[in-house]
């Protein structure tokens, strides 16, 4: 199973983190720091896999973002690489040519999409259509129950 997935920028800013096993906050921070340092130091042509502690790290860079997954000893590296790619495709399809800013400003959406795709560290559905359908449905629900609000109201002045 996947233990966790991290998205971080070339500048070392963490954009998304998903942990599939219970981990203490302190350990999380330490692991994130350590891994970012290792991955960011690697050169472009190097292979996408490395051993780290008792885990296998699979990472790939898309534009300014690194997608980095930690999997267990017996897990398949190549298919994990394609898990990353499929996730990127899903984000891309949803946001329409996704960029780092989309993920920053709509971080909750990125989490929702990831949750529809992976659950408990295992893949839930590999069909792009199924995953996007689930997200679209929830967006429809959202639009239904939200009446438009004025800018003044939004700023708490109304």
């Amino acid at each position: 199973m996947m233990r966790f997935m991290l998205l971080f920028s070339r500048q070392g800013k963490l954009r998304l983190q998903k942990w599939y096993t219970a981990t203490a906050e302190r350990d999380k921070k330490k692991m994130v720091r350590e891994l970012m340092q290792i991955v960011l130091a690697r050169k472009p042509k190097m292979c996408s896999f490395l051993e780290w502690r008792d885990l296998k790290i699979v990472y790939k860079r898309y534009a300014s973002l690194y997608f980095c997954c930690a999997i267990e000893e017996q897990d398949n590296e190549l298919i994990t690489l394609e898990v990353i790619h499929r996730f990127v495709e899903l984000l891309d399809k949803y946001f329409g040519s996704v960029c780092e800013l989309d993920i920053i400003f709509n971080f909750e959406k990125a989490y929702f999409i990831l949750d529809e795709f992976l659950m408990g560290g295992e893949i839930q559905d590999t069909s792009k259509k199924s995953v996007l359908k689930a997200i679209e449905q929830s967006d429809l629900l959202q639009e239904e129950d939200e009446s438009p609000r004025s800018v003044l109201e939004e700023m708490g002045l109304a």
Binding site: D125, D139, R149
Partner: protein, 916 residues
């Protein structure tokens, strides 16, 4: 899709995120965040009840702040309130906050569980999914207690929607992983297996993950999944690439599901049913064939998807380890990848080949790629790939290529990355020892290791070289000469000084004849390093000096001067000072004889598993290391378990048992104490010694037990069901052993109660075999030495085969009787790896020594050995036929025994199979 507007429901959040992004410094960011936190806190505490939307917005802001890495200590209650909102987006944000931020605050958990329970029961699939996701994300014990019995019901209910089934399967998997005891097994398990047949591939994918994990723990309960998984896999691999519609990924049919099914099959041995097995083999062949087809797309996703399945198929082939053709094909395929332009594939090929190297069938095929792998070591630009190459070279190493591989690893070590040096050092040390034909090569290799990477040579490594030199007299002179030469280098590593000090202290006399390495030259050389060394090394050198005083009386005065100097006698370090004082005193007061006894050459170390290997296993973890030490796997699956067991055993033996206990600085007092116990056989250790037991299976005379005080020798003779054993107790010391007594768990005559120094006493034991038996008698020996009671227990080598009478018979007779003893329980067969070189004459001698008659010209194959004999017990006689078939190519034997009694067959097979 006009997407971004969708997330735009909360303008306030977007404004806040922009503000944070515009902050020029960390301080400004913290200031902005604190301002926002104060704002949110006042909103939450304010009198005006917040509407759902505002609550959602603020909770989302808190979440954002938390994800930036700041602590959040409020807002949980508001998030929980959102859970019971009937607006989807509010619920969704509430769940997200809980998933990311929940701690096991018990009050809160109860409220959360209540909300989840409502949503699970809502029959609204979207709400149910949110609830299931939350359980899976948190996965705490409290949640497992509340829902572990509910979720299987949802999973197998007929009216559950597919998307909910998928979530339920993975949610259950998560709970099973964290709290397996809380997930009740029951009727639902059978129905879960049938989800493998589901129409919806998404459901099958999720269910396969669940079933794989359950099957790993309860293989028998999920056996039916094998045939379903094979059927499903077969349909996928034979489908045209577009059949599976959205589950086709870049022209690869359902790669995720294929990988998962292949993983599931790795929970089991090859299917027993021949048809099923054939179908699976076909699938695997199809996958291998596809790898040779031209790619349907140039996209890397296509080749990754395809190869992901291929590598998983190869894993399954290796796991089964039963189809030589598939194994060799897998090896050839990986061989192609070794030279692929994709770094990822080269990496994975090296990794996968490592496990192939440990299979009996493919070891040789892997070896043919040695040059490519060596080349990878030299040319790969990525250290993780080079590391895999080192691992593979280690795994493919055997006696035929050890010299070359060790040489290549050594030369790589010169430039290797610091991160992997220690591991390479360990590997080189292990290979050099394991495959040393002549030990001069071994000594050279280890000294090279110290020269090239001295800092990475751990204690285990240099302890080991000393143990080996001490145990093998043929290499001692060479070792002394070599360390002496190595020490001449102007700058040599401290580890070399340690090894040099120890070896010259023990064996410096072997090179002292040469004037260029006369005692004084040796001493001066060692002492020239003294002041540059750390305390433990200096302590070791002091011991070497006192050993010199014994070896070379002519340098006694020089050394005494050194010991007498203030820098030694008044050294600030207690250990050094004590050694200097004691050694000086010893050299002054003791007579030459006493000195010679005290400083006698170290006795051989007991043979045991190399602690280096244990260290490497600890370092790499049990799964990582191909097991070169034990027999190569020839049965599927099961060997993995024994491997792990062994590793844990080794880990539990304390590592200091192997230490020479030289660097006895006072801080390591605890281990010193234990070490003292283990080396001097005080009554603390009364474990039964059976180290030499098996050596007596095929012979009757020899040394049964030896420590630094006592030697126990044996001579024995047997006739039919009677035997007589002469036991000799030799006192190796110059002192008397008073109160000497022995006892046997069977009757024996008393022995002389005193053994004088250097003397030997004899004891006669009469033996009668009443019926067939397995356990050997234990001989307990007690005596006093140096004021303490010594207590030794030794297993006496009385085995069933001692009561053999050889029987000559013709080929015809033999096969007639062989057929008569054809009942399944009468035959015992064992296939095992040769532990010793397969020498025909030695094998013959062992079979004759075992007690049977060796029947020549009986077996049609002249390479096989056939024997016959009768076991005599008081009550009965048991006829016994045996056949030993060596396979020199595989370095294996097959031993078959047929007797009229199953217990006898088993015992004899157990005894004899340990001898080759």
């Amino acid at each position: 899709m006009p997407a971004v507007s969708k997330g735009d429901g909360m303008r306030g959040l977007a404004v806040f995120i922009s503000d944070i992004r515009n902050c020029k410094s960390k301080e400004a960011e913290i200031k902005r965040i604190n301002k926002e936190l104060a704002n949110i806190r006042s909103k939450f505490k304010g009198d005006k009840a917040l509407d759902g939307y505002s609550k959602k917005k603020y909770v989302c802001k808190l979440l954002f702040i938390f994800l930036l890495g700041h602590d959040i200590d409020f807002g949980h209650m508001e998030a929980v309130n959102l859970l019971s909102s009937n607006k989807y987006t509010e619920k969704q944000i509430g769940y997200l906050f809980i998933s990311v931020l929940v701690n096991s605050n018990s009050d809160l958990i109860r409220l959360i569980n209540n909300a989840i329970k409502n949503d699970l029961g809502s029959r609204n699939p979207t709400f149910m999914n949110l609830a299931l996701h939350c359980i899976a994300n948190v996965g705490s014990r409290e949640m497992a207690e509340a829902f572990a019995s509910e979720i299987p019901r949802i999973l197998v209910a007929g009216d559950t929607m597919d998307s909910v089934k998928q979530s339920a399967a993975l949610c259950l998997l998560r709970l099973y992983r964290s709290s397996p005891d809380l997930v009740p097994m029951g009727d639902w398990t059978a129905r879960v297996v049938h989800l493998l047949n589901d129409q919806h591939l998404g459901v099958v994918t999720a269910a396969t993950s669940l079933i794989t994990t359950l099957a790993q723990k309860n293989p028998d309960d999920f056996k039916t999944s094998i045939s379903l998984a094979v059927a499903r896999l077969s349909r996928i691999v034979t489908s045209a690439s577009i059949d599976l519609q959205d589950y086709t990924y870049y022209f690869v049919a359902a790669p995720w599901l294929s990988v998962k099914l292949l993983r599931l099959l790795q929970c089991y041995p090859p299917p027993e049913d021949a048809a099923l097995r054939g179908r699976l083999t076909e699938c695997l062949e199809t996958i291998l064939n596809k790898a040779q087809e031209p790619p349907k797309s140039k996209k890397v996703q296509h080749s990754n998807g395809k190869n992901a399945v291929l590598f998983e198929a190869i894993s399954l082939i290796i796991h089964h380890d039963s189809e030589p053709t598939l194994l060799v094909r897998a090896c050839n395929q990986l061989g192609q990848f070794l030279q692929h332009r994709e770094t990822n594939l080269r990496y994975l090929a090296l990794e996968s080949m490592c496990t192939l190297a440990s299979s009996e069938f493919s070891h040789e095929a892997v070896k043919t790629h040695m040059e490519t792998v060596i080349n990878a070591l030299k040319t790969e630009r990525d250290v993780s790939v080079r590391q895999r190459a080192v691992d593979l070279l280690y795994a493919m190493c055997d006696r035929s290529n050890a010299k070359q591989i060790v040489a290549e690893m050594l030369s790589y070590l010169e430039t290797a990355d610091y991160s992997i040096r220690e591991e390479i050092v360990l590997k080189v040390a292990i290979l050099a020892e394991k495959y040393a034909v002549d030990y001069t090569w071994y000594v050279d290799t280890i000294l090279n290791l110290i020269r090239i990477a001295g800092d990475y040579v751990s204690e285990e490594v240099w302890y080991r070289v000393i143990q080996i030199v001490i145990n093998r007299d043929d290499v001692q002179g060479y070792a002394a000469k070599t360390v002496f030469e190595a020490l001449q280098a102007p700058a040599c590593h401290e580890n070399l000084v340690k090894v040099g000090g120890y070896i010259l202290g023990e064996f410096g006399n072997l090179i002292a004849g040469d004037s260029r390495s006369s005692p004084l030259v040796q001493f001066n050389l060692l002492h020239s390093k003294f002041h540059l060394c750390s305390v433990p090394t200096r302590a070791l050198l002091l011991s070497a000096y006192i050993k010199f005083i014994n070896l070379f009386p002519e340098v006694k005065a020089t050394i005494q001067d050194v010991l007498r100097s203030d820098s030694q006698l008044r050294n600030a370090d207690v250990e050094l000072q004590q050694r200097a004082v004691e050694y000086l005193r010893l050299s002054c007061v003791a007579s030459t004889d006493i000195l010679a006894t005290v400083l006698e050459e170290m006795p051989p170390f007991p043979e045991r598993e190399s602690s280096i290997l244990a260290k490497l296993k600890r370092k790499k973890g049990p799964g990582h290391l191909p097991d070169i030490n034990n027999t190569r796997r020839n049965v599927n699956g099961s060997s993995d378990h024994t491997e792990t067991n062994e590793v844990t055993n080794q880990d539990s033996t304390p590592s200091f048992t192997d230490l020479l206990n030289l660097n006895s600085s006072p801080s390591t007092g605890a281990s010193l104490l234990v070490d003292a116990f283990s080396s001097s056989s005080t009554p603390a250790s009364i474990d039964v010694n059976e180290e030499n037991f098996s050596r007596f299976v095929c012979k009757n005379n020899g040394v049964l037990y030896e420590n630094h005080l006592l030697q126990v020798g044996l001579r024995s003779e047997y006739r039919q069901n009677l035997g007589r054993m002469y036991v000799f107790y030799g006192n190796k010391t110059s002192a008397q052993f008073p109160s000497f007594s022995t006892s046997l768990n069977v009757h024996n005559k008393a022995v002389d109660p005193i053994i004088d120094g250097g003397a030997q006493v004899q004891q006669i034991l009469n033996i009668e075999c009443v019926s067939d038996f397995t356990d050997a008698p234990i001989l307990n020996i007690q005596f006093r030495y140096g004021g303490t009671l010594q207590n030794i227990a030794v297993k006496l080598p009385v085995m069933l085969n001692k009561f053999f009478q050889p029987t000559e018979m013709t080929s015809q007779d033999f096969f007639q009787r062989w057929k008569q003893l054809g009942a399944p329980q009468q035959e015992v067969q064992k296939i095992f790896k040769a532990k010793n070189p397969m020498d025909k004459e030695v094998t013959k001698a062992k079979i004759v020594g075992f007690g049977v008659a060796l029947l020549e010209g009986v077996d049609p194959n002249p390479e096989n050995f056939v024997g016959a004999g009768i076991i005599h017990t008081k009550s009965t006689q048991v006829g016994c036929l045996l056949r030993l078939e060596p396979n020199t190519q595989a370095q294996m034997y097959r031993l078959t025994l047929r007797t009229s009694r199953d217990t006898v067959s088993q015992r004899l097979c157990g005894l004899l199979s340990e001898q080759f």
